[in-house]
């Protein structure tokens, strides 16, 4: 795979070309809520939505500094959908995917594509989608990818990757399809060694700043997370942290690696067609069975369950933590429940009890 360069003014043309074959989605900037940084790093607070290229004014097109509000899985298992295979869908080209999102696709792929039954809805969209990722030239206060050894720039799993270079972009291809699209567009030149080394400097400088920011939060390293959630099963942390939970399910629904869904029936039609909707394990009835038994009756049990799923179940099954450090769950929580704080507290309790 190769490295290219494109002028900013040509990117709109590139997206226009793509929209002939794909439903193109691009980042769209919205005003975010101000979150002060404890280290006074003057971090950006705006947010991004992934909007259809056809629906925004071309001058509003922007390169997102960090992950968008919606998790990437939105494009592969829709928040609510009828499970019918006979409906045609346009292939999606998603611009503005970040490395946290790409990591999370490993989790989603395991859920939907591994095992005895592959999910044909996910599979079709995943195979068709063109992933155009981008480096993060900055980060939000809530970003903590580096704590999980995930970089704020992609190195695999994309078709095409954009690294901002002044106003323009250095472009990597990561798949045959990406390579062909770049070549046939006629809008890209080969990148020069100087451009590549400047890009790499920018990447390193973001990692350095992010590391500095994360040092403040003292998030335990990724290799101890399974141990601390296991050993912390009886910890008071769960009860204390869950006391501000309002059971909105926001942490689940904004999560890049969450995947749980409900199957239900169409109440208005006499058909046995299924409707699938995202579910949230923080909801009271998530694990309830007929007759009323509910192994996750209490809020603290459900909060704990979320962490056990991410840091115990997934490591046991695929040796990956199901958390990408995108921080969406922190942004969205009205109860100010912070995954960084919970992990830090569990880790502190463990080191106290070890002494």
């Amino acid at each position: 795979m190769d490295k290219y360069f494109i002028q900013k003014k040509d990117t709109a043309k590139f997206l226009d070309n793509l929209s002939r074959d794909y439903g193109v989605y691009v980042p769209y900037r919205i005003k975010g809520k101000e979150i002060p940084c404890d280290l006074n790093l003057k971090l950006p607070t705006d947010d991004y939505l992934l909007e259809s290229w056809d629906r925004i004014k071309k001058e509003d097109f922007t390169f997102n500094e960090y992950r968008a509000i919606e998790p990437l899985r939105t494009f592969f298992a829709f928040p609510k959908e009828r499970l019918r295979l006979d409906e045609e869908e346009k292939k999606a080209a998603i611009f503005g995917v970040k490395n946290c999102d790409l990591f999370s696709l490993k989790i989603q792929d395991f859920v939907f594509l591994d095992g005895e039954a592959r999910d044909p809805f996910y599979e079709r969209r995943r195979q068709n989608a063109l992933l155009i990722s981008g480096d993060c030239p900055s980060f939000k206060e809530t970003c903590f990818c580096r704590s999980l050894d995930i970089n704020p720039y992609p190195s695999e799993g994309f078709d095409i990757n954009f690294s901002p270079l002044d106003e323009n972009f250095l472009v990597d291809t990561g798949s045959q399809r990406g390579e062909e699209i770049i070549k046939s567009s006629g809008l890209f030149n080969h990148a020069t060694p100087a451009q590549i080394s400047r890009r790499d400097e920018k990447r390193n400088s973001v990692v350095k700043r992010l590391t500095e920011h994360l040092a403040f939060h003292q998030i335990p390293p990724k290799d101890v997370l399974q141990e601390i959630v296991r050993d912390g099963y009886e910890s008071d942390v769960w009860r204390e942290e869950a006391s501000s939970c309002v059971e909105c399910g926001g942490c689940n629904l904004s999560c890049d690696t969450c995947h749980c869904f409900l199957l239900s029936e169409d109440r208005l039609k006499d058909t046995n067609e299924k409707i699938r909707a995202w579910d949230a394990c923080l909801y009271a009835n998530f694990a309830r069975v007929a007759g009323g038994a509910n192994p996750l009756k209490r809020r603290y049990q459900r909060l704990r369950n979320r962490y056990l799923k991410k840091f115990d179940f997934f490591p046991d099954n695929i040796k990956l933590n199901a958390c990408c450090g995108c921080g969406r769950c922190i942004d969205v929580c009205p109860g100010k429940i912070d995954i960084r704080r919970i992990l830090r507290r569990l880790n502190e309790e463990k080191s106290v009890s070890a002494h």
């Binding site: 859920v111 095992g115 099963y233 199957l263 169409d266 058909t271 046995n272 069975v289």
Partner: protein, 270 residues
């Protein structure tokens, strides 16, 4: 076109058999071929109402008709209990691993059932009785709340020729001459040599819990106790996330587990 794994196949309801005041057996005739292994479960759906997991109670060697024995315990099952012959239902599956009959071969088998938990065990018993020479001696201990709540009364009579059967009720009525007490009391005088024995347990969680401890008490190894776990299995495919139990999904790794695989899990019986 690829197959949609969430799409049920239509099935006719051809008979409803009342087993107890709150338990009915539904005889289903799927419109497409449908086979299952004993202990595997299906998702049964009622259009517009919902879908839930059940383990068939019929003989897996009979493929034309499937029987599912269901207690009226919730919204969907209440809807099912209203149904009459001739209605159409949806069925998906089968899912999960079921009973490993090969592991049972040559062994004596103690089956312990509680309440409607005898339903999956009936399917197992049919499988065992179809091939008695492969298995050792078969014992059944069954507990129900009251004599009225005992299901499959006619079949139990027939099984007595091949199976050593003991039944207990929690509360007797005036006509009851048998044992009174929870099902574990039937195991108090179980004095067989356990060197070549396995046990299979199915019932409500509290019954499974105390039965398992009782079996350990009388000498069964955890790896010889087969439990049918119940969680909120919804998709049946290990994707929807509802039936996680530790590192397992009950729907695809179970629903039958030997006790040694799950004994260290927190809140196992909740």
């Amino acid at each position: 076109m690829k197959k949609n794994p969430y799409q049920p196949i239509e099935t006719n309801l051809i008979e409803v058999i009342s087993e107890s005041p709150v338990i009915k057996t539904f005889v289903l005739q799927p419109k497409e071929g449908f086979r299952f292994n004993t202990g595997q479960f299906i998702e049964l759906s009622l259009n517009g109402t919902g879908e839930a997991p059940f383990t068939p109670s019929s003989d897996p060697n009979i493929s034309k008709e499937i029987e599912v024995t269901i207690m009226n315990a919730g919204r969907l099952t209440a809807g099912l209990h209203q149904l009459k012959n001739g209605e159409t239902l949806g069925i998906r599956g089968p899912y999960g691993k079921g009973y490993p009959l090969n592991e049972f071969k040559g062994k004596n088998i103690l089956i312990v059932g509680g309440g409607v938990g005898l339903a999956p065990l009936r399917s197992l018993i049919y499988s065992l009785l179809a091939d008695t020479s492969s298995f050792g001696k078969i014992y059944l201990c069954y507990g129900a709340k009251t004599p009225q709540d005992i299901i499959y009364k006619n079949q139990i009579q027939k099984w007595k020729r091949a199976i050593d059967i003991k039944i207990s009720v929690d509360r007797a009525d005036d006509d009851w001459k048998g044992n009174v007490g929870v099902v574990t009391t039937l195991l108090n005088d179980f004095k067989e040599n356990l060197s070549n024995f396995i046990s299979i347990v199915c019932g409500p969680p509290i019954m499974m819990k105390f039965t398992t401890y009782k079996l350990i008490d009388i000498g069964f190894k955890p790896s010889d106790i087969y439990l049918s776990m119940e969680k909120n299995m919804s998709c049946g495919l290990g994707k929807c996330g509802h039936c996680r139990m530790g590192r397992f999904y009950v729907c695809k790794d179970g629903p039958v587990f030997t006790f040694d695989k799950i004994k260290d899990m927190h809140d196992l019986w909740d």
